[in-house]
Symmetry: C2
Subunit: 308 residues, 2 copies
């Protein structure tokens, strides 16, 4: 195989009680990428359609992730790789745009080379893209992008990822208000210290949520989707967050929270019709205050990156 075309999915990280550890993979939002072997050595990004992102290999998250993989192999064949990126995920939207590019390229090169690496190793390389994008080799978006479904980052050093079961038939509705939140703002707004009593409630919910996924318990899943720690701070950066959340829950959503560090807001629903109802209910909030937005209704993607 000399060329591969893939779908690199968007992902939701920081799912309510799972700040920094719990993510899931989406199905109807994602980039397409074509990666092919080329006579020229090295990694070259030949095309980026849809967004204005750097073509220089060492300034692009996909390029950096690809180099991390090839470095590990001490790659010295008489060919290289060309990358084309068809970007559908908006950078800075909070649904893992950089993770999709980084995870996608390492998945694709691994396929072209006959799968020398495990999925866990691919996550290690993709994290180097995340390090470029946000200064830290976070894994909570690249893990669900590569494994699919719900994932838990048990630890980052050493990297240990747990693949969790997914509730049957679960849908997400994602709304992306077109505002910019600076990464430094979404970080600096968080306190470095939190109340122990609040932390206890948070970890009780995360334990319950893992149990809910294993037992396919929609009610418990819903009851566990509360974020006592981060949402009270970061929600202030998102216009009318409380109204969106309230409308989502009124329309039947199982839960609602900030996707990644925002501004996108995720909601989960137990079937497609409810996900559509939620879409209508939360769109109204931003229509009313004239905030432009994108909205997506999607299954949970249990496969992760797909070969097209």
């Amino acid at each position: 195989m000399d060329e591969i075309k893939i779908f690199a999915p968007a992902t939701v990280a920081n799912i309510s009680c799972g700040f920094d550890v719990l993510g899931c993979c989406l199905d109807a939002i994602g980039d397409e990428m074509i990666i092919r072997k080329s006579p020229a050595k090295g990694v070259k990004i030949t095309k980026i359609i849809g967004e204005n992102l750097p073509l220089e290999t060492d300034k692009n998250v996909a390029g950096v992730a690809a180099l991390a993989l090839l470095d590990k192999l001490n790659f010295n064949e008489n060919f290289g790789f060309e990358i084309e990126i068809y970007k559908n995920i908006k950078p800075g939207s909070g649904v893992g745009s950089s993770a999709a590019s980084a995870a996608g390229v390492v998945f694709a090169i691994n396929e072209l080379l006959g799968k020398p690496f495990t999925k866990l190793e691919l996550i290690e390389f993709a994290r180097e893209g995340e390090r470029l994008a946000c200064g830290s080799p976070i894994a909570d978006n690249v893990a669900p992008a590569i494994f699919g479904g719900f994932t838990l980052v048990k630890s980052t050093n050493p990297l240990k990822i747990i693949e969790l079961p997914t509730l049957k038939g679960l849908y997400a509705t994602i709304i992306h208000p077109q505002i910019e939140i600076k990464t430094e703002d979404s970080r600096s707004i968080l306190p470095s210290k939190i109340e122990l009593s609040e932390a206890v409630k948070q970890w009780a919910n995360l334990g319950s949520l893992v149990h809910a996924l294993h037992t396919n318990d929609y009610n418990l899943f819903s009851e566990s989707l509360t974020d006592y720690i981060v949402e009270p701070y970061r929600s202030k950066l998102i216009p009318d967050f409380d109204k969106v959340k309230n409308n989502a829950l009124q329309a039947g959503a199982l839960g609602c929270g900030i996707s990644g560090s925002g501004p996108s807001i995720f909601t989960f629903s137990k079937d497609k019709q409810i996900a559509k109802n939620v879409s209508v209910a939360i769109s109204e909030v931003y229509k009313k205050i004239d905030v432009p937005f994108h909205i997506y209704i999607t299954k949970i993607n249990t496969q992760g990156i797909k070969i097209l």
Copy 2:
């Protein structure tokens, strides 16, 4: 049925990453209780063998729990209840002594009355005993005493308890150094605020531990039994805690931590032989420094309170 004899088990709360929420039920340590209908109305504690505890109903955790149950029923039959307690669990040892008495009595009276209440309701009554014992209606010992196995207190208001699966064949070795830790010391030594970054590691571990119980994964269970938050503080109150822990892990224990608020230390092992090896290894620590201790090797009790 006019009389019932039960085994009221000891329990481990605050299991490592599950401070305030995760507990489990033990099999080889526990009290025996006899509860019988009596011609005299009300609740009377007629006998306590083994420990010097108050016989007055309203000053005894079992008495208070029994009254909470009867109050809820607006109980007004022409009989009452007598309670005999054969106490084997040392009060203040950290393995749920008060919880065993409180849970045992409400379980027994519920049986004598034809089971008007669910197990969850029984936990509500037993918590009133805990309120008397420690000032707060904690549920993390009474829940495993009544349900058996591993339990997660998802929330206390409203009370929601999750029954988790138990690893097959799991054993605990519990060592109780005969020292007194004042409840106020074990509380006041904890900070009210903790680092967010440490809390993230704690909830990642609790999520992983729940996953490990569902997948019968001993390695992951072991890797998840780390307490970043509470153990660094409370372990200072227990002589040579670090040596005990180190010896336990060297002898093959899956994990080791402070039971409840101490001074007992729990360890888990994947079979009885390892649990015995651990027992020898940790006993040596206290023999060397002449701290008197009790030690117990026990299966995890998946049934909870037992009718004898």
